[in-house]
């Protein structure tokens, strides 16, 4: 790989986002509004908000980056820039890491702002693990990016790419344990849930919020999240074909 080409790609992707201030505003403002909304929804039940609020902080970036990446990469595929880039010395890894760095940086900003609202304004608690929650949010952003990259290969149009969000991410959110604790799910759902990466990201966030010691299970969750990211990036890389029909 080439560091210079990777960084050039990251700078280019950020440059593209910068040209679209409305998207940036939506990326930063919408999560804050949603967390305020959830706070109000559970106004009399602080405990429930605490249960839901911290994982929400960590999961927003995953959804945002999934959407942004799947569309950006689809454009790259359909506009011919991907084919053009693959005829240059740019390696696939340079491209993937460039995307990863760019969206991780965006996720840092996004997660920090939502965390300030959550922890500062709305009094969410995560003990000494507030920074850990932000870091987990960034890891989830990269996971979402890797998913988005992969599914962009299966979409022909932007309409299709957007539909992959409810198809691919929503089931993971439903089954991760946020809405119904996993041990209260039907057996077969527990099995499905165990096979989905978001279950582990959620569990890590949940543990960070409640258990300051961050035990072995927490690190196992982090390991699975990172492993799933690597796997999705690998699958995504396999869809970047230099030669096409």
């Amino acid at each position: 790989m080439s560091l210079s080409r990777t960084l050039a790609t990251a700078a280019r992707v950020i440059g593209q986002l910068r040209r679209d201030p409305r998207t940036v505003a939506l990326l930063l403002v919408v999560p804050c509004v949603l967390i305020l909304l959830v706070d109000q929804l559970f106004a009399g039940r602080k405990q429930v908000f605490q249960q839901v609020g911290v994982p929400m902080l960590g999961l927003f970036p995953l959804i945002s980056m999934f959407l942004v990446t799947s569309i950006t990469m689809l454009r790259e595929r359909t506009s011919g820039t991907l084919e053009r880039l693959l005829t240059t010395p740019l390696r696939k890894l340079d491209l993937l890491l460039g995307y990863g760095i760019a969206f991780a940086l965006v996720a840092v900003v996004q997660a920090t702002i939502v965390s300030i609202v959550g922890f500062g304004l709305l009094d969410l608690q995560a003990g000494n693990s507030k920074a850990v929650v932000v870091l987990l949010a960034v890891a989830n952003a990269v996971l979402g990016m890797a998913f988005g990259l992969f599914v962009s290969a299966f979409a022909r149009t932007e309409f299709q790419a957007v539909q992959f969000m409810p198809a691919f991410v929503l089931p993971q959110i439903l089954l991760c344990g946020l809405f119904v604790a996993r041990d209260q799910m039907a057996d077969w759902l527990q099995w499905v849930s165990a096979a989905l990466p978001l279950t582990y990201s959620f569990d890590a966030l949940d543990r960070a919020a409640h258990d300051a010691s961050l035990g072995g299970r927490f690190w196992a969750d982090v390991g699975v999240t990172l492993g799933a990211t690597a796997l999705a990036l690998g699958l995504g890389a396999a869809t970047l074909r230099r030669r096409t029909p």
Binding site: S4, T9, R12, D20, S79, T81, L85, T87, P89, P245
Partner: protein, 238 residues
Amino acid sequence: MDAAIAIRELRVVRGGTLVLPGISVSVERGLVTGLLGPSGSGKSTLIRAVVGVQIVEGGEVSVLGLPAGAAELRSRVGYVTQTPAVYADLSVRENLTYFARVLSAPQARVAEVIDRVDLGGEANRLVGRLSGGQRARVSLATALLNEPEVLVLDEPTVGLDPVLRRDLWDFFHELADGGTTLLVSSHVMDEAARCDRLLLLREGRILAALTPDALLERTHATDLDGAFLRLIEGGEAA
């Protein structure tokens, strides 16, 4: 001297259709070679095979003595796609800055190629706001950044006004005089006269590979359009 591009028995199937049934042709170094033929004749497919992005069924394509698409070739072969492959949401300069870094070209080249394609006044405009012809020139400029030895251009003059088209062809010859090998596709026979050598392609077959003068002589036609017609009719009679 070796040919810059050597194609032997190239066979390509796209979407179940046999686009190139097995053609053999070569492109000489340091010349402007025109790949002429109607739309659908297989020009883009041939060009994609030369830059190594086309899945081929059989045959061999070698560029500068290496198999097409080889990693060593990626900094030595420039490719200008038919639809401009540039980022619409970046400015002209930002696009070229990125491609310069990808191609390891010095940043000073950015301003040079912008002037070269006559977009000095538009350098800070978003590519998405430019006209089709301007966008095509940005795409061309990206391929000039690292001064490749072989430049492969897929219909680079479509949609350009006659003055620009003339300037561009003059520029291609300047590059060729400097030693660059150019393979330029076009479906406009007028442009054939601007080439040093012609490859006439029809329905995936090379009808002829010769100079424009030789084509006129061989067909006894007064213009190149007529010559192409006679070649087709002659070919079908034979």
